[in-house]
Amino acid sequence: MSYEIVGLAVLWIFLYGYLIVASVDFGAGFFAYYAKITKKDHIINKLIARYLSPVWEVTNVFFVFFFVGIVGFFPDTAYYYGSALLVPASIAIVLLAIRGSFYAFENYGSKQSNVYMFLYGATGLLIPASLSIALTLSEGGFIVEENGVVSLQYWELFTSPLSWSIVGLSIVSVLFISSTFLTFYAARANDQPALKLVRGYALFWSTPTIIAALTSFIFLSQHNERHFGNMMDLWWMLGLSVGFFMIAMWLLYQERGYGLAFISVMLQFFFAFFAYGIGHYPYILDPYITIADGATHESMGLALIVAFIAGLFLLIPSLALIFKLFLFDADYVKGKK
């Protein structure tokens, strides 16, 4: 396997990692605010804070990791995406900045402020929407290069059913992933009222998630036939994805195996996400950047892969430690530590 494919595969895994941890975080922010306005905050806010406080910064790094990695492996992405995305990405930065710092201000600094809570909840939905634009752009047709000037076709983007369906999908997925995780976490904490509430959220958000996934798929078939065709060839991955979704739903209905349910949701998104990614081959940005042409020099590619591996030896035990202390330590989860 060539180094650029290895690089892209690792980056895709990291993006997937971000998708999961960030969804939990973004969704939790929304649910925390929603619970507040429906006067149920006393039920779940402690639970959410107990999980998020030690890990919010880690979540952010997953994202930085991905974009630094992709620019490193494929410098052309910096040129095309960088030029085209100045406005949407800058807005995403501002939202991320508000979210990250306000979380710290709220949780480590001053006490409970409605404004912070609102911003924290609202940005939780706006950030996935703004970040998902990058995925839409990769399908081609929205970025045009003329006389060495790269520009984003805002009109095409805002009138495209594909871009709106991807935005919709990203938002409902965030809420679905987050609520299944919180269900698992509440079950671990043996917190029955919280469990009842978040399990309800999970069941509720499952339907829009699967509908949005289907809609996006249909619009993709109209926008980029090649990509759609490639994904159809990976029908078994899509089938597995749907299968795991059904397992998750069944467990949630049965009110048991919440850990397994969350793992099923992770696998559901894993297969869908990878079928989508693999189907994109050979383009990173249709039609400007392909994996083969856009890659950095071989020596740098190899150096990056070595750094990846060395870095993972450092990161995996550290991540295991943080999860062990804050996710799988029953006493901590229950609030006894």
């Binding site: 994202f63 974009f67 620019v71 995406y81 960088g82 800058s90 930065i93 900045a97 020596s299």
Partner: protein, 452 residues
């Protein structure tokens, strides 16, 4: 119009970095002080130091949050504002950028653990061990990101073929000739500035005169440990500054010459302090130290120092960097002097190191140290104009062509104003609502519980 987007791109980046560097410096330096305080607390079994570590850590988290989000901003802005630069240079500097993220990742994970495990381990030292990866992570992220900046000053580790890089050697590019002197100077000034910041806080608390009894003792201990550390790094910082000057003389003579208004190449060059340029671009009102620039440049009072006349006019940095250079050096000297004075006074029994004047000077040293960091960076960055990649790409060729950049500038300006203000408000509130006196009162009770 073309020029405008370049200018605004520069201003936007300068603003983001200027804001980020405050929090980045704290992010690199303060963990070391927290770690030292916790260690002294454990070794001396003195709860005052443990509380210092705890309270510093509490405030530190707030600044880390701002550091993280502005760091994310600058990371993305590199590609957004300078897409042509990243397309070209990305091939060569991807490795250190990437390693920086790893180091930061490592720091983030352990910071999360550190903050929430104060009382979770049987032995106190176990918790202290968790501070080491934070100090290392912060230090290494500074090291890696500094190599990227060093590369922009002395691009090495590749050959040029038809306008694009070939035969890339990532390791050689990372450890380019500017890297060593930059790394040591960045690290020593970050530790110095952070120590100075915490010393200034302690001095402020003592000056308020509200601090009495145990609280006063607590602040005096804080002052002593921070000033001592600041002294060590202030001394080291002067040394690393000297190394940097010698590096410039060798590899980037136009930067040093611009800082010193040194126009003609000559032997036994004078060091020019302060002053201004008159209408004919002649230095006026300056203090000249004969032959000192030669010594600063090459360690020999009669050596030859290259002047600005050797360079084409369009490749010379703006001459106002002289002020930045002078201010940075002056503050560096002042910090060394004031910390030395405090230590000398504290050694003499008859003298009181906590007198009003000394405390006042330490108090202003905190902000001054941050100003020196800003001046130093402005000097370093403006001093390599007009290049973004010295000798290869000018800033103008690198900037985005997007007409929306002006709007983005104001959006980020608003963001930094909000973040900066809230950060100060939240920090004040955090420490006002829970003054050290309250926590000190609870101390003996806790200790007894621990002994049972």
């Amino acid at each position: 119009m073309e020029m405008d987007t370049v200018l605004i791109s520069r201003l936007l980046t300068a603003m983001t970095l200027g804001f980020h560097v405050i929090f980045a410096t704290i992010g690199v330096g303060v963990p070391l002080l927290i770690s030292i305080a916790e260690f002294i607390g454990i070794k001396k079994n003195d709860p005052h130091y443990t509380m210092l570590a705890k309270r510093w850590a509490r405030g530190f988290v707030i600044t880390v949050a701002v550091g993280v989000v502005t760091g994310t901003a600058i990371g993305l802005q590199l590609s957004l504002v300078w897409p042509n630069f990243m397309q070209l240079a990305g091939n060569v500097i991807a490795l250190p950028l990437f390693l920086e993220v790893f180091a930061f990742f490592f720091e983030a994970i352990f910071l999360g653990i550190y903050l929430y495990t104060w009382d979770r381990f049987k032995k106190k030292i176990t918790h202290w061990y968790l501070s080491i990866p934070i100090v290392l992570g912060g230090g290494f992220s500074a090291v890696f990101i500094t190599t990227v900046n060093a590369f922009m000053n002395t691009p090495e580790g590749f050959t040029m073929e038809d306008g694009s890089f070939a035969a890339v050697n990532p390791i050689e590019a990372m450890f380019n000739s500017a890297a060593p002197s930059k790394i040591i100077h960045v690290l020593s000034s970050a530790y110095l500035t952070s120590a100075m910041l915490l010393a200034a806080i302690a001095a402020f608390m003592l000056l308020r005169k509200k601090a009495k009894g145990t609280a006063a003792t607590y602040h005096k201990k804080a002052l002593k440990v921070t000033v001592t550390i600041a002294f060590v790094f202030a001394a080291f910082n002067l040394l690393t500054g000297d190394v940097s000057a010698k590096f410039l003389a060798e590899h980037q003579p136009e930067k040093l010459a611009a800082a010193e208004w040194h126009f003609e190449t000559e032997e036994g060059a004078d060091l020019v302090l302060f002053g201004w340029l008159n209408e004919d671009n002649e230095p006026t009102g300056v203090i000249r130290l004969p032959n000192v620039l030669s010594f600063l440049a090459h360690g020999d009072f009669n050596s030859e120092v290259i002047g600005l006349e050797e360079f084409p006019e369009e490749e010379i940095p703006p001459l106002w960097v002289h002020y930045m250079f002078d201010l940075m050096v002056t503050i560096g000297m002042f910090l060394f002097g004031i910390t030395l004075l405090y230590l000398v006074v504290s050694k003499v029994k008859r003298w009181n190191e906590n007198n009003k004047w000394l405390l006042g000077s330490i108090l202003i040293s905190g902000p001054l140290a941050f100003l020196a960091i800003e001046f130093g960076w402005i000097y370093a960055e403006v001093g390599r104009q007009p290049w973004i990649l010295r000798g290869y790409m000018t800033v103008e060729e690198a900037a985005t062509s997007s007409p929306h950049i002006g709007l983005m500038f104001f959006m980020f300006l608003g963001l930094y104003i909000v973040l900066g203000t809230l950060c100060v408000v939240v920090l004040r509130k955090l420490f006002r609502d829970n003054p050290v006196e309250n926590e000190l009162e609870e101390l003996p009770l806790k200790e007894e519980k621990g002994d049972e």
